[in-house]
Chain length 359, copies 2
Amino acid sequence: MSDKIYSYQQLYAFALNVFLKMGCSNEDASLATSVLLSADLRGIDSHGIARLIGYVRLWEVGRINATPNIHIVHETPSTAVLDGDKGLGLVVAPKAMQIAIEKAKNVGTGWVSVKNSNHFGIAGYHAMMALSQDMIGMAMTNATALVAPTYAAEKMLGTNPIAMAVPAGNEAPFVADFATTTAANGKLEIAQRNNQSIPTGWAQDAKGNASNNAHILKEGGALLPLGSEKELGSHKGYALGSMVDIFSGVLSGASFGPWAPPFPAYVPMPENMPGEGLGHFLGAMRIDAFRPANDFKNNMDLWLKRFRNAKPINGQERVYVAGDLERIMEGERMLNGIPLVKDVVKDLTQLAEKFALVF
Amino acid sequence: MSDKIYSYQQLYAFALNVFLKMGCSNEDASLATSVLLSADLRGIDSHGIARLIGYVRLWEVGRINATPNIHIVHETPSTAVLDGDKGLGLVVAPKAMQIAIEKAKNVGTGWVSVKNSNHFGIAGYHAMMALSQDMIGMAMTNATALVAPTYAAEKMLGTNPIAMAVPAGNEAPFVADFATTTAANGKLEIAQRNNQSIPTGWAQDAKGNASNNAHILKEGGALLPLGSEKELGSHKGYALGSMVDIFSGVLSGASFGPWAPPFPAYVPMPENMPGEGLGHFLGAMRIDAFRPANDFKNNMDLWLKRFRNAKPINGQERVYVAGDLERIMEGERMLNGIPLVKDVVKDLTQLAEKFALVF
């Protein structure tokens, strides 16, 4: 690979300056940068600094508000609906998670559904905010429709990720963060760049036949829900993606399903949108609202050790727990830097020129 | 098929009498029967009256307590841990769900983690209890380890189902209820009875190779998480099954992972169990804790209509929403009766003899 390597600090300084040039406050720009770059550190390259230019373009066409008035629309002791005022999801979501955490401190759990927001980076960042509070964290979001329900020949749902972070004692925590599709769209983008075909089960063509073409979404095709096909349980992945859409979109008053707003700024907004912007759903559960935190952590350590030491199948060295690979990557990239592909370097250079910054 | 057909009323009366003979109170016997038979009505035959003899055998060896003292161990305004006192999960789970619903009435949401319980029938029943309260309901449970994590050659997790019920206005509600595996164990049992092979992706052999043998679990094989293999996202199904295990088992103080108690009474209990019995997790969220119930229902109706009217792929007549097929089956079986296979009829005849009942 001829990827160029950048230090975390280099990329942080650059992204921070871009958000400041957009007019974000110092506080919001720092937060947005931390969330954005957590994706690069954890190896989820499609959701990191590669998307920075996309956020800028949405801001240029007025779909992102750099100085939003983020406010609670309605609340109860354990719930709230938050209006993101078209802010960066990178800023709106952690603020929503903070509200969920405060509610969990008071009444055991907190659940915040968010409307009128934008792409929030990796779901895992927001869920992991709960860990230091001895809480379980959850985060999900709806997204541009790219996924066909089981038996459907239309794009109806986003890749609608779910993240869940569970604290432990001495062991590294459990951190799941995954799209509710067989493969995330970022994996198709990698195959497109490398002129590769994609495995059967990731996507279908416009008529619903299996496709190995990484470009098939541009020809009326769609990503497939986790499970790939009915016989292998795709109706379950479809149900999961639906749940995320309902919790994030319908419960908050955001738009949903095929009417979710698109990420690319050149794609027109859907007609007759039933709600405002993208939706998220954030949750926090205090461990000691259920049992003493130390008892839970001891059992969680046992759980994690038992799974990490499970007998591997032939050809594999070990069994991983959700989040292990991302944590290893984070340590490695913090130390050795973050590789960026040529197209991303080009985008960032273009941004540097636009804002008179150095990259 | 040479299945015999029984009316819902016939099976209800018989199961009720069996639970009464076990010593359940009238109230508990009615509740257990309603939960059990909801599976037969909805077409989830593996979880209905076919399991009645299994519950009786667990009661005979002292693993099920017919007169449990079900009690709250710890609670906050939005949470509780419930000790099922080895009661029938069919009774413990709906009582836990009722507590979740009461908490949701008070503070917006309610979340109850349950320990020291047994198999709770179909998850969907408990989640659907929320619908008439204008709440979203959730239910999950851990179970006997039959599933290998991605890259593992051991059975470490149960089929750990998740159910979620969402109320609507004029449209029929959204009711997801699915095992977090590619295929539920009941599907393997059907293939075993019919001497059929199973599709690639459902199970692996003792070394972790794909297997089409419906009997492979008896030879050291395992069911596979939703996604089937790493390339098709099995680590996501594994993460989902893990979440269910952690919420149901670790959070409550029940047993978990490979130490979850087995359903067959002849299988010895695992050694060094880290907790008490099986665990469940039940949740209720009041719709109007987020937005006015009518606004939500109007949007939910739009969501449901749009998905039910999505363009189908070649060869399919229509697109379904989670719960549609089960609801159609329920109407059909309430009207025309419930078919039982020969082996189940034999088991029930044996139970009738044991308890001097008529079947």
